[in-house]
């Protein structure tokens, strides 16, 4: 049984206070030019009206820089203290969904990641339905939508002067029942109609979904396709897409020892397969030395390898990589090219030429 409440915007602070008393709370905060998830204590400064979140949800559970342990001459200890459980308020459905995918990697799948699990335990996600998707949004291509409840415990719908708060899980239901001290209004029929309108308008604004079911099978034949050369020529090989991606989860582990001592810390840091250093081996050899190898890896990991390992595509269609890419490299275009088959044909042709050259050399 789900509950539905009307939360006047002026009462938002009550909701945040209830969260803060039980959780370490993260929410979207405007930081001069970017909206990022930051820890919040009150509703002040919470940027729920921001058009989009520029940073990924993963940062709340898998921070970019995380000390795993401190060591001193052969002994090691984890960082002191235990956080309260984590809550996020104002997460869009795309980001909320990404947390379920990362859970498979860090928790429910083959591996148990202790810091991730510690933060995910008893967490709470208050989602914010996406009333005005951006031009770069394509969650509907990935079987989701602007009000997809997956990954959220409570979903908020902005109806102007109030939010309609609807529980999506038992945990969300329990929270809503105890969050408000004063009497909270039930939404009127007019409120519910308004919310319905917001939802259908958002869905319509996304436009028709492109069928990406053919991406994985097509990728199998594109291992040495000229497609990657073409895309790599545009790419700057920076890590903006990977770091801002809600599902990219690769990391590096470094020991930072204080010079002249045996003391230091072991720290985990986000890493990106777009960087040449990512695969550089101790010998100096780099199996993915060219930008095109790295570009291919990123697409393959999301749309092929992850599917094989965890049964779904590691992309939620948030479009952040498109919106914030310095050179407008658009993953939607790459996917369209992948399924177009035009590049498999070119490949066969290129291969033919290659073997001809080889033959000549041999001769």
């Amino acid at each position: 049984m789900s509950s539905t409440l009307r939360v006047d915007k002026k009462d938002l602070d009550q909701l945040v206070s209830a969260l803060v008393s039980r959780y370490r709370v993260f929410g979207p905060v405007e930081l001069d030019g970017a909206t990022l998830l930051r820890e919040v204590k009150t509703a002040d400064g919470l940027a729920l009206e921001a058009r989009a979140l520029d940073g990924p949800a993963k940062a709340a559970f898998f921070p970019q820089t995380e000390t795993l342990l401190y060591y001193d001459n052969g002994t090691a200890e984890p960082p002191p203290g235990k956080d309260k459980p984590t809550a996020i308020i104002g997460l869009r459905p795309c980001d909320a969904r990404s947390l379920l995918m990362l859970d498979k990697v860090f928790s429910t799948g083959k591996y148990r990641d202790i810091p991730w699990q510690r933060r995910q335990d008893d967490n709470l996600v208050i989602g914010l339905g996406c009333g005005a998707p951006l031009e770069t949004c394509f969650c509907n291509w990935l079987g989701s939508g602007p009000f997809d409840p997956q990954g959220s415990d409570v979903m908020l719908t902005d109806i102007g002067d109030a939010y309609i708060a609807e529980s999506c899980t038992d945990k969300g239901e329990r929270f809503l029942k105890t969050a408000f001290k004063s009497q909270v209004q039930r939404p009127s029929q007019a409120d519910l109609d308004k919310a319905g309108e917001v939802r259908s308008r958002a869905q319509q604004s996304l436009g028709a979904a492109v069928d990406v079911s053919g991406v994985k099978p097509a990728l199998a034949s594109l291992l040495d396709s000229p497609l990657w050369d073409e895309v790599a020529l545009e790419c700057l090989s920076c890590a903006a897409c990977a770091y801002l991606c809600p599902t990219c989860h690769c990391f590096d582990v470094q020991d930072e020892t204080i010079p002249g001592t045996k003391q230091g810390r072991r720290v985990r840091i986000w890493d990106s397969c777009m960087s040449a250093l990512f695969t550089k081996e101790a010998s100096g050899h780099n199996p993915r030395g060219a930008a095109k190898d790295r570009m291919r890896q990123r697409v393959m990991h999301k749309f092929s390898y992850f599917v094989e390992s965890y049964g779904e595509t590691a992309c939620v269609g948030c479009g952040r990589c498109i919106r914030l890419c310095p050179v407008n490299l658009d993953i939607r275009d790459v996917l369209k090219k992948v399924v177009s088959r035009q590049y498999t044909a070119v490949r066969a042709e290129a291969k033919g030429q290659k073997s001809k050259v080889k033959g000549q050399n041999a001769g």
Binding site: L31, A34, D54, T65, L233, L236, A240, L277, I322, N328
Partner: protein
């Protein structure tokens, strides 16, 4: 906002077609229409027909020099490249030649008269249209050196924020007046947004080192964290390494996905270089780089 005529695009495409047809160049590095309203994408065009996709308008904010380097590296030895260059890009090209990174004959510079580009911040939003800050303080709408010049479109309405309408160093001068603690707090806030993605470095025309100091791992020169000490050192060293070389094109800031205001550091240094050495980067092919030369008349008041 700026109104572009179709004119310059047409002339640009014709110029590129002709260069490719006459085999003056093997490829042209330019801009193609982007998939979001405020960002064009880089395009490497190799045949005449493909030149149809070249454009030039206010969305063309990327510096194409990183793409030029990449395209030349991928092409057969001896290949000449055409490159579409705004004023700032033209200055960076001059600096490449001054620094020995490019021979004048390796490139055919297609100058475009630039009326400024828009900031791509919030690129998914249709309504936000604002001239980039770097363009407001820009003094060079045309490349100082070019082979072909394509007429720029007439600038009609720039909302009072046209290129060159801001004092060149106004922002940095205003910033300098603030107390030190306030300036430091401002930098700390800005750098707290940095995620070390290196979009700024990779988009910067002058960051062309094959191996950047942050990628030195044996031994590690700089910690890899996104914590303040590491991010601060990265940005300070990058600013120092581009001292007397930065053309203030603003490509780094436009590339930054999180809107870190990087250019104040660079501007402060550019101002210093101009005042001390009377040097403006990228105007003259025979120039000696300010920090790679010595003159007995250089100011020496810092020597105690």
């Amino acid at each position: 906002m700026m109104q572009r005529t179709a004119e310059s695009g047409q002339q640009l495409r014709e110029a590129a077609r002709k260069l490719l047809k006459d085999k003056k160049v093997g490829l042209v590095v330019g801009y193609a229409k982007g998939t979001t309203p405020r960002r064009a994408k880089p395009a490497v065009v190799k045949d005449e027909k493909d030149a149809d996709r070249l454009i030039f308008d206010e969305t063309c904010g990327i510096s194409l020099l990183p793409h030029l380097r990449k395209a030349l590296r991928a092409a057969a030895a001896g290949t000449k490249a055409g490159i579409v260059a705004k004023g700032c890009d033209g200055r960076a090209l001059v600096q490449y030649i001054v620094e020995g990174q490019l021979k004048r004959d390796d490139v055919v510079i297609i100058g475009v008269s630039c009326a400024g580009v828009v900031s791509p911040r919030h690129a998914g939003e249709k309504d936000a249209q604002e001239l980039d800050e770097a363009c407001r303080r820009c003094r060079y709408s045309v490349a100082p050196v070019y082979d072909v010049l394509v007429d720029g479109p007439a600038r009609t309405d720039t909302g009072g924020h046209g290129p060159g309408t801001a004092e060149e160093y106004a922002a940095v001068e205003e910033f300098e007046k603030r107390p030190a603690a306030e300036r430091w707090a401002w930098f700390e806030r800005e750098l707290a947004k940095c995620i070390r993605c290196y979009a700024c470095r990779n988009a910067c025309p002058m960051c062309y080192c094959d191996e950047c100091f942050v990628d030195q791992t044996n031994p590690l020169w700089l910690g890899k964290s996104a914590e303040r000490p590491d991010t601060t050192i990265f940005h300070i060293v990058r600013a120092l390494h581009t001292a007397g070389r930065c053309v203030d094109c603003g490509a780094c800031e436009r590339a930054c996905p999180l809107g870190v205001r990087l250019s104040l550091l660079n501007q402060r240094i550019a101002k210093e270089v101009k005042e001390r050495f009377g040097y403006t980067v990228g105007l003259n092919l025979d120039a000696k780089p300010a920090l790679a030369t010595y003159d007995e008349d250089d100011r020496q008041e810092f020597i105690l």
